[in-house]
């Protein structure tokens, strides 16, 4: 009974601030000329599927988001693990240190990378001193992925860290006593135990990074329009809400589907992600 009451605020909030706006987006995606005769039309979707260029942009965005997420897991997991297993009294300091950069504005953070990656930037200057000539890292997929990882890494570390906190040392010891080597202990006990955290992390990194737009604009030199840029432009520049709505609905559907499959692989049914 009480647990149902807990859900009520979310139900109300979701209805008012999520479902109604979603209905509005869908309405505009299917209606041509909302200020005029407002007739039903599938033009937005037809435009999207009639030109392969758009599917290409979507695929590119998914690819970049996927690689960024993977790198976040590979970089973030050890950090979360070491932190969770550490007994140092500086543990809390390190955690806050990792979150702190995120409190400086996203745009400032992203622009800051330019000072490092540009041809006249710090890295290139250092390389020039070492005799490797000036290198411009901006305008490459590498730069976009690097900065995505930078912007989203703490969102991977934190959920994994909090799940690993509960990991019981005695279980690990028992497994080791029974003759499991460290690798086996990790893959048989630690990793499965942290799956809910990883899934939360994936949801917080992969999902928003598909539709992010400012990163490709800045360090990507605007040369890699991603699906987020495309949607952004439909509203901010060309004011074509129908096409914008259609692109975002297609993107949402694709991401939901992907998340569904990711969560399906978690057979223990203790996932914390979307649509388990």
């Amino acid at each position: 009974m009480k647990k149902t009451i807990c859900m009520i605020p979310l139900y109300v909030w979701t209805l008012v601030f999520i479902l109604v706006p979603l209905a509005i987006v869908i309405y505009y995606a299917f209606i041509s000329d909302p200020h005029g005769d407002a007739s039903f039309s599938l033009d937005g979707f037809r435009d999207f599927f009639s030109n392969p260029v758009f599917a290409e942009v979507l695929l590119r965005s998914l690819k970049i988001a996927f690689i960024s997420t993977l790198v976040c897991i590979l970089l973030g997991y050890p950090a979360a693990y070491f932190l969770a297993r550490s007994k140092s009294r500086f543990k809390f300091v390190v955690i806050i240190l990792m979150l702190l950069p995120m409190w400086i504005n996203f745009l400032i953070r992203t622009y800051s990378w330019l000072s490092l990656l540009e041809k006249t930037g710090l890295i290139s200057t250092l390389l020039t001193y070492m005799g490797f000539g000036p290198v411009d890292f901006t305008g490459t997929e590498f730069a976009v992925i690097l900065v995505s990882v930078y912007d989203f890494l703490p969102f991977m570390i934190m959920p994994i860290y909090i799940t690993l906190l509960k990991l019981d040392q005695s279980h690990l010891d028992a497994a080791a006593d029974l003759g499991a080597n460290p690798a086996k202990v990790f893959f048989k006990i630690t990793l499965p135990f942290s799956v809910p955290g990883i899934l939360s992390g994936v949801a917080m990194v992969f999902v928003p990074s598909v539709t992010t737009f400012a990163i490709s604009q800045t360090v990507g030199n605007g040369k890699f329009p991603l699906i987020g840029d495309l949607i952004q432009e439909q509203y901010m520049v060309v004011s074509n809400w129908q096409f914008g709505g259609a692109i975002s609905i297609v993107t949402m559907a694709v991401v939901l589907l992907l998340m569904y499959f990711i969560n399906r692989t978690d057979s223990d049914e203790n996932g914390g992600g979307i649509l388990q």
């Binding site: 979310l10 979701t14 504005n105 996203f106 710090l122 930078y150 809910p196 917080m204 914390g272």
Partner: protein, 263 residues
Amino acid sequence: MKKFFKSSYLVLIILFLYAPILVTAVYSFNSAKSRGVWEGFTFDWYKELLERDDIIEALSVTIVCALIAALVATIIGSMAAYGIGSKQKKGNSFILSLAYIPMLNADIVTGISLMLLFTIAGLELSFMTMVLSHITFCIPYVILSVLPKVRQLDWSLYDAARDLGCTPTRSFWKVIFPELLPGILTGFLLALTMSLDDFIISNFTTGSGANNLSTLIYTAKMGLKPEFRALSTVIFGIIFIILIIVNVVALKKQKNNKRGNEI
């Protein structure tokens, strides 16, 4: 050796997270307005920053908005995660996926659709509508942080507390809540982060002169302006000092507690 490896890994990660911020801090003393060239040392941008009352005002709007949004989102999100996680029902996972929509959607779509919602509701865009929007997109981050902890809950402890005569409420606060606390705190911190970072949704849902820092930076392309390099450094400095104070206090408390326990 192992310990050394662990520590140096963490140090590397932190270096990665701080590299661009440190570079920005260095460039905030560059007398050239633009990024590319170094022309000499100056404090001018800090002086200019002090004269920009619009930036100072935006900073306070940003902080108040983030605190309110993160707090409300944490309450709603934690309650929901508790409800969802402790009961496996089909409907729950459906409502959960709905709650994630602001995360799935491009920010601009969320922003414009919320603006239209407020218009239909007859509300004028203002600080309040911005806070409501921020709560909306913060909730999924809280749920995602708390849910794994709910799934790990050991209900036998709760039952034990009940058997020992605790009321359900007391058992909850004594047994369940402390277990969830790390997740709730993380959720709060991530929600705070999201709110501080957002600019597109804010841009379309704020009005009546309530500018937050991000909209100011975004519309004015201020990420490119020297004053903002100074601002970034100042924000960083303030947070850093607060962090040190909090830690010194916490360490002192710990020591005192230990002494108290010994006696």
